[in-house]
Structure formats: structure tokens, C-alpha cells
């Protein structure tokens, strides 16, 4: 196994221990806590009155738009991070390329901005 994978293996072990620990917490909790369920206790909280209607409600479309824009910026990180660590190798060529890339990316953001998608009220 290469050194590269061994570091990840350490992390997997660490994550496994975390899962076990959380499981142990929950298991211990289920052993010691009382359980006297009534149907009233299982009603969801809604300011102390019986819940009205269904939980499903329409939420603002803007949340979805922001999620889409996040994808734009997160994918861009895939291109920016490797280049940032190799800055001196690509020099001016890389810089100009990246400037063009970020300019196009920013155009996308400004287009959404101009369209009023970033406005909440």
C-alpha cells in the first residue's frame, strides 16, 4: 500500500472510531432513558397548539436558485485549486487563462445579479 493511501486509511480508521463512539452514546442513551410514549408526545411542536395542515409547504424558489449558483462556484473550485498550487509552473500563460476563466465566471454571477435573482424582497 502506498504512503498516499496510508494517510487516508488513518482517516478511515478515525472516522470508524467516530461512528462507534456516536453509536455508543446513542446505545447508552437507549439503555438508561425512560420510554413512556403517548400519542400526545409524538405530535410535532407548533407553538403549543395542534399542528395545522400538512408539514409540506411551498418554499421560496430562490433557495433553489442559490443552490444552483453554488454548484457553479463549487465546480469552479475544482479548476482553481490545482492551478493555485502550481502557480509558478504556468506563470503568465496560466494567469491570463485563469483571469479569463474567472471573468467568465463572474459574468455568470453578474448576469444573475442583473436579473434580480440575488434580490430577496
Amino acid at each position: 500500500m502506498s504512503d498516499y493511501l496510508r494517510n487516508w486509511l488513518t482517516l478511515v480508521v478515525f472516522g470508524g472510531v467516530a461512528v462507534l463512539l456516536v453509536g455508543a452514546f446513542l446505545g447508552l442513551g437507549s439503555l438508561v432513558r425512560p420510554s413512556r410514549q403517548t400519542s400526545q408526545k409524538a405530535v410535532v411542536y407548533e407553538s403549543g397548539v395542534d399542528p395545522q395542515g400538512d408539514m409540506w409547504s411551498q418554499s421560496n424558489i430562490r433557495y433553489y436558485v442559490f443552490a444552483l449558483m453554488f454548484v457553479l462556484f463549487d465546480v469552479e473550485a475544482v479548476f482553481i485549486f490545482p492551478w493555485a498550487t502550481r502557480l509558478e509552473v504556468y506563470d503568465v500563460f496560466g494567469l491570463v487563462e485563469m483571469a479569463i476563466f474567472i471573468f467568465i465566471l463572474a459574468l455568470g454571477l453578474f448576469y444573475a445579479w442583473r436579473k434580480g435573482l440575488l434580490r430577496w424582497i
Binding site: 432513558r33 442559490f66 509558478e88
Partner: protein
């Protein structure tokens, strides 16, 4: 470029190596849990001091065991599962929230001598190793990935509760966290420019060779990281996710007993990890001004925890000082200020680095770079102001028309 590799894992793996890895993992867990306990107490005590009250004072000396008492109490509380909840996801969500919080701390170098070109190795049972659980070559990327997974924990917890307040809280949370994650990532990208590596260990080594990244990247990315980090943690003034006055408890309203405690733990664990990452990326990690020969291994740990404490204090201070943001202000700050600023600053620093590499004179490059940025920013703000004026005008006209028709109706 320094290829990251923990010297412990380079040679063959035998029992000693396995034991050292397990020991490090165990110490990291103990450290995190004790630190969380103390941080919760620290926050409550500090907030009460700032609000001129006493705070927890009964459990243990100065109330220091209050968190432990609360934790034990929560173990003995009944666990309620709402009838309308999605049972599987409801049980899964606390795991998704707390496990990233645990694992993210693994990549933080907490000690080791980095002064005078030291590479941060310590010897442990005759083996040399780094004082961090793991040092993957793309450590910072791993941290960003985990903070993205944490969004799932919050989102699914709210969605699966089958209740209105948690649903609203989780929709808000996911939009807020992903928005600020973009700004966070771009602020971190500037660090990669000066460090040339994604490994946390290499980033710390790089800072000990030159200056700390907070100066090398020109402070702005550090500021963006701090603001975006606060928002990513859902800490005040960005705590719209669990705004008590409007959403009860936000995404964890329906959680009780130990499951609620897990969300609470993960929130504070994330706070510690975010502080530790900020120290690693921008403030030189365990490096510090005083390192004596006698007990040399203590000093890096001391400096590291001192810096982390400074961040924790800042988070609590922000909570005590600032009122909550409105949601549109929050989104405006993220998308219209932080992201463009981070992008512009990233390009500026990249240009300066390339110019220094080619031996161009620094001062003209700085002046031209700042002028270009300033020009871009003023063009942008000009456009925004014009659009705003137009919109106001339109709204005024619209208001006049409705007023006119209303009065017309009145006459008829």
C-alpha cells in the same frame, strides 16, 4: 514542492505504528470531547460576564462541570420520535452532523517544532511522526468536503422531522451554508497561492519559512474566512438557522434526549475545528515567538491552543455584540460582497506572485493591480446603484398609478 508524507507511515507498518496511530486517534477524541465541554462552559461564562450576570456557578468550581451535568441529564431524557417524521432519515441525521465534525479535526497539526526550518516531526516511542492524526495530501480539500457533508446533517434533520419550523430552518440553513462555503473556498484558494500545497502540514511548514499567511495574502482573505466561517458555523450574527424568536429551535426543534445533544456537540466541535483550521491556514499553526530548549515540546502546543482560544473568544464576543442579520442582508453580504471580493483579491495576489516570479518591479504592479480592482469594483457598484435607482423610480411610478386609480374609484 514538499511531498506530504507522515514519516511514521513511510516504512513498513508494524505493531508500534498501529499503536501510535490508535493512540493519536484516542488522544484526538479525548481532546475534542474535553475541549467541547470546556468551550460550552467558556461561552456561557463569558456571555454572562458580558451581560453582567453570573452564569453557571454551582456544578464544580466556577461551574466548570455544568456541561457534564447537562450531558448526563440529556442521557436520562425520553427520546421522542414524531409520528410524522421520516424514521430512518430522522435517526441518520445526527450521525451526518457529528461525524464530519469529529473527522475534520484529524487534519489539524496541533504541535511539533516548526521554528528554524523544523519540519514539525516529534519522536514518539522511537518513531518520528507528525502531531496530527492524518496528513492527506489534499487535507484542506478534505476539510471543505466535510463541511459540505455537514450541510446534509442539518438539512435532513429539518426535512425528516415532519414539522414546519424545522423545515424552514433547514431550508434556510442549506442556502446559507452553501452560499458562504463558496466564499470560504475562494478565501482558502488564496492561501494555496502562497503555500503551493493542499496539505495542512505543508501549509504550516511554508509559513514558518516565510511570513504567516495572514500577511502573505494581505489580510483580506483572512477577514473573508472569518466572516464566512462564522456564517458556516451558524453562529451569531448569522444564526438565522435556529433563530429562537421566529423558528423555535430551527432544524433540531423535534430532537430530544441524546440526539439533540449530538447536534449541540457537533455545533461546538465545528467551532473548535474552524478555529483550528483558521490558525493552521493563516496564523502559522503551532509556531510561536517563544520556544525554549528545556521543554521544547510544550511550546508549540501552548501557542496553538492560545491562538485557538483567541478565535473562540472572538466567536463568543461576536455573539454578545452583534444583532442577528436579516436574511436578505445575509445573502447580499455573501454573494454581492464576499464572493466578488474574494475572487478579485485572489486574482490580485496571483498577479503579484507571478510578477515577483518574473522579476517585474513590485510597486508598479501593485499600483496597476489595485487600480484595476478598484476600477472593477467602482464599475460594479455604479451599475448596482443605477439599477437600484431605476427600480425605485419604477416602484414610485407604480405606487402613483395605484394611488391614482384608487382615488378614481373613490370619486366614482
Amino acid at each position: 514542492m514538499i511531498l506530504a508524507a507522515d514519516p511514521l507511515l513511510v516504512d513498513g507498518i508494524d505493531l508500534t505504528v498501529v499503536l501510535i496511530v490508535l493512540l493519536k486517534a484516542g488522544v484526538a477524541f479525548a481532546l475534542l470531547l474535553v475541549a467541547v465541554m470546556l468551550v460550552i462552559w467558556f461561552e456561557r461564562k463569558l456571555i454572562s460576564d458580558m451581560q453582567n450576570r453570573i452564569g453557571p456557578a454551582l456544578a464544580g468550581p466556577w461551574g466548570i462541570l455544568q456541561t457534564l451535568a447537562d450531558g448526563i441529564k440529556l442521557f436520562f431524557k425520553e427520546d421522542l420520535l414524531p409520528t410524522r417524521a421520516d424514521r430512518v432519515v430522522f435517526r441518520l441525521a445526527p450521525y451526518l452532523s457529528i461525524i464530519p465534525a469529529f473527522v475534520a479535526f484529524a487534519i489539524v497539526p496541533v504541535g511539533g517544532d516548526f521554528s528554524d526550518g523544523g519540519d514539525g516531526t516529534v519522536s514518539m516511542f522511537g518513531r518520528s511522526t507528525f502531531l496530527q492524526v492524518a496528513d492527506p495530501p489534499v487535507g484542506v480539500l478534505f476539510f471543505l468536503a466535510l463541511s459540505a457533508v455537514a450541510v446534509y446533517g442539518v438539512m435532513l434533520a429539518g426535512w425528516s422531522s415532519g414539522s414546519k419550523y424545522p423545515l424552514l430552518g433547514s431550508v434556510r440553513a442549506s442556502a446559507q451554508m452553501i452560499s458562504y462555503e463558496a466564499a470560504l473556498g475562494l478565501a482558502i484558494a488564496t492561501v494555496f497561492l502562497s503555500s503551493g500545497s493542499l496539505s495542512t502540514h505543508d501549509i504550516v511548514v511554508g509559513q514558518s519559512a516565510t511570513t504567516w499567511n495572514v500577511l502573505a495574502t494581505g489580510i483580506v482573505p483572512f477577514g473573508i474566512f472569518l466572516i464566512a466561517g462564522t456564517a458556516e458555523l451558524n453562529r451569531p450574527p448569522f444564526d438565522l438557522v435556529e433563530a429562537e424568536q421566529e423558528l423555535v429551535g430551527g432544524f433540531h426543534t423535534e430532537y430530544s434526549s441524546i440526539r439533540f445533544a449530538l447536534f449541540f456537540l457537533s455545533e461546538f466541535m465545528n467551532m473548535i475545528t474552524m478555529s483550528a483550521i483558521a490558525v493552521t491556514l493563516f496564523l502559522g499553526g503551532p509556531a510561536g515567538p517563544i520556544v525554549t530548549q528545556r521543554v521544547a515540546w510544550v511550546w508549540p502546543l501552548f501557542w496553538f491552543f492560545l491562538k485557538v482560544m483567541a478565535f473562540l473568544f472572538t466567536f463568543v464576543w461576536l455573539r454578545a455584540t452583534l444583532p442577528r442579520f436579516r436574511y436578505d442582508q445575509l445573502m447580499d453580504l455573501g454573494w454581492k460582497v464576499l464572493i466578488p471580493a474574494a475572487l478579485g483579491w485572489f486574482l490580485l495576489i496571483a498577479t503579484l506572485d507571478v510578477a515577483a516570479d518574473l522579476g517585474w518591479p513590485t510597486i508598479p504592479v501593485v499600483i496597476v493591480g489595485v487600480l484595476v480592482l478598484w476600477g472593477g469594483a467602482s464599475l460594479l457598484s455604479g451599475a448596482v446603484r443605477k439599477a437600484q435607482a431605476e427600480r425605485l423610480e419604477e416602484a414610485d411610478r407604480g405606487a402613483d398609478e395605484t394611488a391614482g386609480s384608487a382615488s378614481g374609484l373613490g370619486e366614482a
